[in-house]
Every structure is written in C-alpha cells, then in structure tokens.
C-alpha cells in the first residue's frame, strides 16, 4: 500500500536524522576536554562540564579565535 510505505519511509528518515544529530552532539561533547600532562608521566583529562574544564576551556576557545 503506497500510503503505508510513505509513512514507513518518513519514519525511517526522521529516525535516521535524529540519530545523526544525537551522535554528532555526543561526539562534539566528548571531543571537548583539557588534557594535562605532568612531569612524572601521568595525565589528567578534564572533561567538559567539570568546574576546572569550564574555567579553562573559555580561555582556550578565546585563544583559538584570536589565532584565527
């Protein structure tokens, strides 16, 4: 039945679009972080959303903007 097929195709398209948006947002969030490396070889990753990262990331963003 053509009408049913159109509905299914529409639902699949909308689901695919929503999934893409969700994946892109999640991916962008996971890529935003500050990694600190210390003299003893250890590393600390400050993920976006943590107070320290939220204090330092605006400086990094301003630096990137300034660098052009």
């Amino acid at each position: 039945m053509p009408k049913r097929r159109i509905w299914i195709a529409g639902l699949l398209g909308a689901g695919s679009f929503a999934g893409t948006i969700f994946y892109r947002r999640r991916s962008a969030r996971s890529r935003t972080r500050i990694d600190l490396y210390f003299d003893d070889g250890s590393m600390l990753s400050l993920a976006t959303g943590s107070p320290d990262a939220d204090r330092l990331l605006p400086i990094a963003r301003e630096l990137l903007t300034e660098a052009g």
Binding site: R31, T32, R33, A47, D52, A67
Partner: protein, 138 residues
C-alpha cells in the same frame, strides 16, 4: 637556532599546526608566526591557561605541569613547557596529538640549545610521544 627561524621551519614542515607562539611563562613573546599585537594577546591567553592548569595541578598535589592540550570541536591548543619558556600552537580539529607535542618539544630544544646539533625532523617523528598513564576524568 634563532627562535624565529625555528618556528618558521616548524611551520613549513607541519601540516597540522596553524599558529605558533614561543613565550616566557609570564606571557612575554619571544617569537611567533602571527603579527606582534596578536602574538602578545596569544601569549597572555596562554599564560592564563597555563596558570589555571597549574592551579589545578597544585590542588591535586601533582608533579610539575609538562604540557597540555585543550581540545574543542573547532580546534586544539597545545602548550609545552620547558623551565620558564613555553611553546604554544593551535591546530584544527582532531590533530595527531603526539606529533604536535613532539614538534613543540623539538622546537623548544632547538631554541634552548642553539649550538648543539638537535635533530629537527618533525614530519618523521613518532606519533606516540605523549606521556602515558591516564587517570581518568576529573
């Protein structure tokens, strides 16, 4: 090697690095790939970034800060520290992290030891140069 010549050489070799600033930890610029006024602002922002990162280090009682990467979807900021000097670089999104750190360390070595024969082949550097030992998110 002269700081300006060293950063020019690195800029010519690296396809990932967009801007480079060599400065003291108080933000005073030694050499840069951008014009003087902008380099001064970048040096000041890098000083603030390192100062903030160093206060995190102090709060956690960690060893001295060696280097950092601030990653965003629009690009990354890299800072490598060597005594009172720091090398700052910006890249696009998803850079080869180890390679950029290696290039900046080589840059600082070249500037620190001008009379020594320092190997300067950033493009052929090993990618896994970042210190290991992830502690997880904070």
């Amino acid at each position: 090697m002269d700081a300006a010549a060293a950063i020019d050489e690195l800029k010519g070799l690296s396809t990932q690095i967009e801007a480079i600033v060599v400065a003291s930890r108080d933000g005073a610029v030694t050499a840069a790939t951008v014009e003087k006024e902008r380099a001064g602002r970048l040096g000041g922002l890098a000083r603030d970034l390192v100062s903030g990162a160093d206060s995190v280090r102090g709060d956690l009682g960690r060893d001295a800060l060696a280097q950092l990467q601030a990653a965003t979807p629009d690009g990354s900021v890299f800072v490598v520290l060597d005594g009172d000097r720091m090398a700052v670089a910006t890249t696009g999104a998803d850079p080869t992290v180890g390679l950029v750190f290696y290039d900046l360390k080589t840059l600082l070595r070249q500037i620190a030891a001008p009379d020594e024969a320092v190997s300067a082949e950033p493009a052929q550097a090993p990618a896994a140069d970042a210190p290991a030992g992830e502690d997880g998110d904070a």
